[in-house]
C-alpha cells in the first residue's frame, strides 16, 4: 500500500534527521546565544526543544511534498486519477494533530517560563552587601530573598547609561553611573530596570538573556546572573535613528571584590570631575 509505505518512509526520514540533528542542534549557529546567565541558557533549551519539533514537522511535510512531486507525475497514457473530494476522518485527524502539537509546545513553554522570568538568589560567593533599595515599582521581578543588585538602564540616542541605584551613592539622591560598559559582580543577581529618555530602544546582551524594550514613559525589567567573569557584548535591538547600529553595549563581570573597588573608583572619579567642573565654572564666573 503506497500510502503506508510513504508514511513509513517519511517517519524513518524524520527519525534519521533527529539523530543527525542531535549534534547539529548543539552548534552555536543554530541556537540563540547562551552561556552567560541561566535565563539565556533556559531560553536556548526551550528554543532547541521547539526547533526539534519543528524539524520533525518540516521533514514530514517537505518529505510528503517531494514524494508527491516525484511519484505522482502524469504518465503518458496513464490512468486518470480518482476524483477524491476529501476524507473527513483524515482531515479531522490532522486538525487534532496540529492542535496537539501546539498545545504541547505551550505546555513546555509554561514549564520553562518561571525559570526564565524569575531571578534566583545570589550565590554565597556573590556580592554580599546589597542594599535593600527597591525600584519604585510593584511589578519588578525579585529573587526569593529580595536581595539583588539593582541597576537602572537608560537608553538614549546612541548610548546606554547605567545608574547603580542599589549601591552606595554619590550624594543623597544621585547614584553612581556609567556609560557603555556596565560593570557587575559575578555570582550576583542583577536586576535591570530599563527605560528611555528619548525614543524607543531595546536592551540586549544575547548571552545574558532576551531583550527588554526601553520605551519612554514605561519601565521594563530583566535580570541576569553571571558566573564566569568576562565581557559580554550586545547592541540596541530597536531602530532608534540613523546611528542605531553604533549603539553598542557591553557588560563586564568581575569578582565581587573587584566590583567594589571599581565602584569606589568610579564614585571618586565622578566626584572629582564634578569638582573640577565646578572649579572651572567658578573660574569662568570670576572672569
Amino acid at each position: 500500500m503506497p500510502r503506508r509505505r510513504a508514511l513509513i518512509l517519511a517517519l524513518a526520514g524524520a527519525a534519521a534527521l533527529l539523530l543527525a540533528l542531535a549534534p547539529v542542534a548543539s552548534a552555536s549557529w543554530i541556537r540563540p546565544e547562551s552561556g552567560g546567565s541561566p535565563n539565556a541558557n533556559d531560553i536556548s533549551t526551550l528554543y532547541t526543544i521547539v526547533l526539534i519539533m519543528g524539524a520533525v514537522i518540516f521533514v514530514l511535510v517537505e518529505g510528503l511534498l517531494v514524494y508527491s512531486v516525484v511519484k505522482f507525475r502524469r504518465k503518458r497514457g496513464g490512468p486518470e486519477p480518482t476524483m477524491v473530494h476529501g476524507n473527513t476522518p483524515l482531515e479531522v485527524g490532522w486538525t487534532i494533530g496540529a492542535a496537539v502539537i501546539v498545545a504541547v509546545i505551550a505546555a513546555i513553554t509554561f514549564i520553562y517560563l518561571p525559570k526564565i522570568k524569575n531571578p534566583p538568589n545570589s550565590s554565597a560567593n556573590g556580592l554580599q552587601q546589597l542594599a535593600g533599595e527597591d525600584f519604585a515599582s510593584l511589578n519588578q521581578p525579585n529573587p526569593p530573598n529580595g536581595k539583588a543588585l539593582r541597576i537602572n538602564v537608560v537608553g538614549q540616542q546612541y548610548i546606554w547609561r547605567y545608574d547603580y541605584i542599589g549601591a552606595p551613592r554619590l550624594t543623597e539622591n544621585r547614584p553612581v553611573y556609567a556609560y557603555y560598559q556596565m560593570v557587575v559582580p559575578t555570582n550576583t543577581t542583577v536586576i535591570l530596570q530599563i527605560n528611555s529618555s528619548d525614543v524607543a530602544h531595546s536592551w540586549w546582551i544575547p548571552k545574558l538573556g532576551g531583550k527588554a524594550d526601553a520605551i519612554p514613559g514605561h519601565n521594563n525589567y530583566t535580570w541576569f546572573k553571571i558566573s564566569k567573569p568576562g565581557i559580554y557584548k550586545g547592541q540596541c535591538a530597536e531602530l532608534c535613528g540613523n546611528n542605531h547600529a553604533d549603539m553598542l553595549a557591553e557588560v563586564r563581570a568581575v569578582p565581587p571584590d573587584q566590583f567594589k573597588a571599581w565602584l569606589t573608583g568610579q564614585r571618586q572619579a565622578i566626584l572629582q570631575s564634578q569638582q573640577a567642573l565646578a572649579a572651572q565654572r567658578k573660574a569662568g564666573e570670576g572672569q
Binding site: I43, S68, P81, H85, N87, A98, K211, I215, N220
Partner: protein, 549 residues
C-alpha cells in the same frame, strides 16, 4: 459583430477606463514597477551588508532604504497586486460582467498610483528613515522634523482609502453578482481568498488610518497622543499599528492561498481536497488574525498574562494554516501532476511557506522571541512568509493567468530557469539570515563589526539576493517577450476548472455574452462534459453567440 461598440484603444482609453480588466492590468503594471523599485532598494542594502564596516552607503541613506523597501513591498506591491489579480479575475470567475462599482474601482487604482508617487517624491527631499513601522516617538517631529514621515502618512491615507474602496467593491461584487447557481459552496477558492482579504482590509485599515492621523496632528498641530511629556504613550502607536499590521500579513497571504488552491488541483488533474475545510480555514485564519497583534510586542513592558494570551492565539493560527498545507498535499496525492511553471511556483510556495510557518510558531513562543525579536531571524521569517510565500504564489498566479490576460502562453523553459534561479537565490539569501539572527545580528543596522563572525553569512546572503534578482528579471523578460511572440493560448490552455477559462483570451469587454449556469465548484468540467455529450467539437460552447447579435 457582437452588437457591441468596438473596443477602445489608445492611452486615453486607459486613463478613462472603468473596465475591471484594464484596471486590473494597470494595477499589475504599476505594482510590478514598485516591486522593481523595492527590489533595487533591497539589493542596495545587501551590497552595504556584504562585508563588515562597509562604507558604501551612509547611515541616513541606509535607514531610508530600509523604510522605503518595507513600505514599498507591503503597501505598493503585495497588497495592491492582489487587488490587481482580484480586479481582473473576480468578475470573470463568478460570471459577472464587471465589478459592482466600476468608477469607484477606477478611483481605487488612481488613489494607489498617486499615493505611491507622492511617497516616492520624498526621495527628492528627505525620505523617511524610521523603518516601515514608524514607531513613535522616533517618527514624531522632535526626532524627525523633515517631511519624509509626512509623505509616508499621506501614502497610508491614499493607499488605505484605495484599499478600503476596493475592498467594499469586492464585497459588493462577490455577494451580489455571482452567476446563477454559484452558491457559497461553489465559489472558487480564490474568490474566498479575495472576499476574506476584503473583510480584513475593512476591519484593519481604520486602525492605521487613525494612528497616522494622530501622528500627523502630533507632528503639526500640537497634540500629544504619543508624547510622554504631554501624557501620551508611545505604546499606543505600537498597539494601533500592529492591530492593523498583523491582519495585514493575512491580507497579503489569504488571496495567495486562494491562487494556490486554484492552481494545485488544475495541475494535479484532481479536484481540490477538502474544499470546505480550505474555505473555512481561510475564515478561521482571518478571525484569529485579528487577535494576535501583540505578538509583535513581546519585548515591550507588558504583563506576562497578556503575552501568554498572544502566544496562544498565535499558536491557534498554526492549526488552520496546517490544514491548508495538508489539503494541498492531499490534492497532489495520487494525482497526475502536470509540472508546468505555475505548478513549479505553487510547489515552491508550499515548500517555503512551511519554513515560514514553523519559524512563526517558534517566534510565537514569547520567551524564545525575547531572543529572536528584531533580529535577522525575524527578517528571515517574514521573507519566508511574504517572499517565499506570497511572492512565489503571485508568480504562480502570473504564469497561470498570463495566457488569459494576454492571449499568449509564456515560455516554459524561461519560466523554469526563472523559477530555479529564484528558488536558489531566495533560499540562499534568507536561510542563512536565521543563523545571523541567532548569533545576535539585529535588523535595520547599517553596518556591523568584523569580530562578530557574521561576515560569511552576510556575503552568502548578498550573493543569493543577486541570483534572486536575476530570476525575477528572467520572468519579466519572459512576460514582455511572450506578449509579442508567445504561442496563442486559446480559451482554456490548462484544462482548468473555473469560469474565466470559458471566455476568449483576452476576454471581450463585456466578459460574457451568455453567463452559464453553475452546477458545481468546477463549472468548466460540467461545460466540457456537456460539450462531449452533445457531440459538438470542444470550444463551440465556449464561444457562444449571444441572442440578438
Amino acid at each position: 459583430m457582437r452588437g457591441l461598440p468596438d473596443r477602445k484603444t489608445g492611452w486615453l482609453s486607459w486613463l478613462s477606463t472603468t473596465d475591471h480588466k484594464k484596471i486590473g492590468l494597470m494595477y499589475i503594471y504599476a505594482t510590478f514597477l514598485f516591486f522593481m523599485l523595492g527590489g533595487v532598494e533591497a539589493l542596495m542594502m545587501r551590497l552595504q551588508l556584504a562585508q563588515s564596516q562597509n562604507t558604501l552607503i551612509n547611515p541616513q541613506t541606509y535607514e531610508a532604504l530600509v523604510t522605503m523597501h518595507g513600505t514599498t513591498m507591503i503597501f505598493l506591491f503585495v497588497v495592491p497586486v492582489l487587488a490587481g489579480f482580484g480586479n481582473y479575475f473576480v468578475p470573470l470567475m463568478i460570471g459577472a460582467r464587471d465589478m459592482a462599482f466600476p468608477r469607484l474601482n477606477a478611483l481605487s487604482f488612481w488613489l494607489l498610483l498617486f499615493g505611491g508617487i507622492l511617497f516616492y517624491a520624498s526621495v527628492f527631499f528627505t525620505p523617511p528613515n524610521t523603518g516601515w513601522t514608524f514607531y513613535a516617538p522616533l517618527s514624531d517631529s522632535a526626532f524627525n522634523p523633515s517631511n519624509g514621515v509626512d509623505a509616508w502618512i499621506f501614502l497610508i491615507h491614499l493607499t488605505g482609502l484605495s484599499s478600503i474602496l476596493g475592498a467594499i467593491n469586492f464585497v459588493a461584487t462577490i455577494h451580489n453578482m455571482r452567476a446563477k447557481g454559484m452558491g457559497w459552496a461553489r465559489m472558487p477558492l480564490f474568490i474566498w481568498g479575495i472576499l476574506i482579504y476584503s473583510y480584513l482590509l475593512i476591519l484593519a485599515l481604520p486602525s492605521i488610518a487613525a494612528a497616522v492621523t494622530m501622528l500627523l496632528t502630533d507632528r503639526h498641530f500640537g497634540t500629544g497622543f504619543f508624547d510622554v511629556a504631554q501624557g501620551g504613550d508611545p505604546l499606543l502607536w505600537q498597539h494601533l499599528f500592529w492591530f492593523f499590521g498583523h491582519p495585514e500579513v493575512y491580507i497579503m497571504i489569504l488571496p495567495v492561498f486562494g491562487m494556490i488552491s486554484e492552481i494545485i488541483p488544475v495541475f494535479s488533474r484532481k479536484p481540490v481536497f477538502g474544499y470546505k475545510a480550505i474555505a473555512a480555514s481561510t475564515a478561521a485564519i482571518a478571525f484569529l488574525g485579528m487577535l494576535v497583534w501583540a505578538h509583535h510586542m513581546f519585548t515591550t513592558p507588558t504583563p506576562i498574562v497578556v503575552l501568554a494570551f498572544f502566544m496562544l492565539s498565535s499558536f491557534a493560527i498554526a492549526v488552520p494554516t496546517g490544514i491548508k498545507i495538508f489539503n494541498w498535499i492531499a490534492t497532489m496525492w495520487r494525482g497526475a501532476l502536470v509540472l508546468k511553471v505555475p505548478m513549479y511556483f505553487a510547489v515552491g510556495f508550499i515548500a517555503q511557506f512551511v519554513i515560514g510557518g514553523i519559524s512563526g510558531v517558534m517566534s510565537a513562543v514569547f520567551p524564545v522571541d525575547w531572543q529572536l525579536q528584531d533580529t535577522y531571524f525575524i527578517v528571515a521569517h517574514i521573507h519566508y512568509v511574504l517572499f517565499g510565500g506570497s511572492v512565489f504564489g503571485i508568480f504562480a498566479g502570473l504564469y497561470y493567468w498570463f495566457p488569459k490576460m494576454s492571449g499568449r502562453m509564456m515560455n516554459e523553459t524561461l519560466g523554469k530557469v526563472s523559477f530555479w534561479l529564484m528558488f536558489l537565490g531566495f533560499n540562499m539569501t534568507f536561510l542563512v539570515q536565521h543563523s545571523l539572527g541567532l548569533q545576535g545580528m539585529p535588523r535595520r543596522i547599517y553596518t556591523y563589526q568584523s569580530g562578530y563572525g557574521w561576515d560569511v553569512e552576510n556575503l552568502i546572503s548578498t550573493i543569493g539576493a543577486f541570483i534572486l534578482a536575476a530570476g525575477i528579471l528572467v520572468t519579466l523578460f519572459n512576460a514582455v517577450r511572450s506578449v509579442k511572440v508567445g504561442k496563442k493560448a486559446g480559451n482554456d490552455p490548462w484544462n482548468a476548472n473555473t469560469l474565466e477559462w470559458f471566455v476568449p483570451s483576452p476576454p471581450p469587454e463585456n466578459n460574457f455574452d451568455v453567463i452559464p449556469r453553475i452546477r458545481s465548484a468546477e463549472p468548466m468540467k460540467d461545460i466540457r462534459r456537456e460539450v462531449a455529450a452533445a457531440g459538438r467539437p470542444a470550444g463551440s460552447v465556449a464561444q457562444p453567440v449571444a441572442p440578438g447579435t
